[in-house]
Amino acid sequence: MNYHWNWDIFLAETPSGSTTYLGWLLSGLEVTIAVSLSAWIIALIVGLFMGVFRTVPNRWLSGIATVYVEVFRNTPLLVQLFIWYFVMPELLPVSIGNAFKSINPFLQQFIAAMLCLALFTGARVCEQVRSGINSLSVGQRYAGLALGFTLPQTYRYAILPMAIRIILPPLTSEFLNIFKNSAVASTIGLLELAAQGRQLVDYTAQAYESFIAVTVLFMAINVVVMVLMHKIEARARVPGNAGGG
């Protein structure tokens, strides 16, 4: 195959000046990290509450949580993103929709991508929290209640501390997934890492160099996440317990 390799392309200045192509990739990396981390924080909070709701003996709460999970887990991420970005502003009252559409386009794209990733991942976190809670012996719940704890106290002091330790390893893969899933935001024009990589191809026609660089940067993010999560798992371990020992 007669491909013309040129690794120096990263240090070449972009046509608009002021930065290099590597600078583009790094600014994309920043956006990827920002959108993924903020979405992850929301996903953890939403997932934790919804996961608890799915296991409580209250038909309304568990119903809401079940609907949430089924809707967000069973539709494609790309479709959800398009709904957040293109359909939502049209469904809102005209004045609010127009107000949203007139703010800075970068912010519009960022907010749409963050909400989309957060609620999609939140549904998956929710299912893991639920399975973590269900994996505990039902006796723990009874013991908590028998000691005079209220139901929220039982969750807070007895069930969740164990359940969350058990689901730390699958949570790590969700955390890794959210970074990789964030690449869909390039389809609504958010200039994150994948979009900057694609833009580099368009400007320089050096497809392989830029895709290799994007791959390496995504892997670097994920190595950092894995190391971090291993540390957290090690620190949170309770000796002699499922998921811990």
């Binding site: 046509p15 608009s16 049209e90 970068f106 519009q108 609504i188 024009g189």
Partner: protein
């Protein structure tokens, strides 16, 4: 007498096989060996290369590409040549041409110097100007009116590049939205997120023809650049390129290309039966008169 005849026959035989065997190289050899030609097309570049409602590939560039297929059939004497069609995007078309997935890709690809380092371009098949699509009552007449506004363009196009450069050079304070494809750019314009859509004028006419109310939209502004579209082929394959260029030169000079132009740009086209009403520019007439493969500066 007999010997001389034999000699002549042998010479004839040797000569004819050498013409076929020794001369075929690169893509033409591959086509001859596999009895297959692999074409690359686009899926939504109206009216250059796109699907109709029967899922067939149609368009101006597609018609020209089929002329190449006919020429290959004739020159290589392959009446049963198999044709495979692969949809390509603006991101993957160069790698797919290079690695042999497609032998030739005719769509709406601009011939420029960066791309010439990776692939070869045929003679120019179309010339466009980069302009603006906007609502009739938006008050926008030219690029200068865009200062401080939201403007959309399609990611990966020359328009994106020119718009960003204009924004920085003239400090216009535009918010530039880069949408994934032309359809999405137009959606961004239609939903009011942007006041104008910058793109190749022929593609803007195609998007307008697809709009809910085509009459609401106008194409304005002095072209910021002119660009030449060409078909992409593998580099360093002079034999195939010569065949393609010869085919195009023939249809351009015989007036056949002008007919194809009329069919796609001056008559109703699928999917909605709209007429793009896009008369041939002087640059295009010149390209048809003197076929060449030069990129515009």
């Amino acid at each position: 007498m007999f010997n001389r005849l034999l000699l002549a026959a042998m010479a004839c035989f040797l000569f004819s096989t050498s013409v076929l065997a020794a001369e075929l190289t690169g893509t033409l050899k591959k086509i001859k060996d596999t009895n297959t030609i692999a074409l690359g097309h686009r899926d939504s570049s109206v009216p250059f290369s796109y699907y109709n409602d029967k899922n067939e590939v149609i368009g101006y560039s597609q018609d020209l590409m089929m002329k190449v297929v006919a020429a290959v059939k004739k020159d290589l004497k392959l009446p049963n040549l198999k044709v495979t069609l692969t949809a390509v995007t603006s991101q993957n078309r160069i790698p797919l041409v290079q690695n042999g997935t497609v032998d030739i890709a005719c769509g709406s690809a601009t011939n420029n110097l960066e791309r010439q380092k990776q692939v070869a371009f045929s003679d120019t098949i179309f010339v466009i100007g980069t302009r603006l699509l906007t609502k009739k009552d938006s008050g926008i007449k030219d690029f200068a009116d865009l200062a401080g506004k939201n403007v959309v363009t399609t990611a990966g196009t020359t328009s994106e590049r020119l718009l960003r450069k204009l924004n920085e050079d003239k400090k216009m304070g535009m918010n530039i939205i880069s949408a994934k494809d032309h359809g999405e750019s137009f959606l961004t314009l239609e939903t009011g997120r942007a006041v104008a859509f910058m793109m190749d004028d022929a593609l803007l006419a195609g998007q307008r023809a697809n709009a809910k109310h085509p009459k609401d939209w106008v194409i304005v502004g002095k072209p910021m650049s002119n660009e030449a579209y060409g078909c992409m082929m593998r580099k360093d394959d002079p034999q195939f390129k010569a065949l393609v260029d010869k085919t195009f030169a023939k249809v351009m000079k015989s007036g056949e290309a002008a007919k194809i132009y009329k069919k796609w740009f001056m008559s109703p086209v699928p999917p909605k039966g709209m007429n793009l009403d896009f008369p041939m520019s002087d640059d295009m007439k010149a390209a048809f008169k003197h076929p060449n493969d030069k990129a515009f500066p």
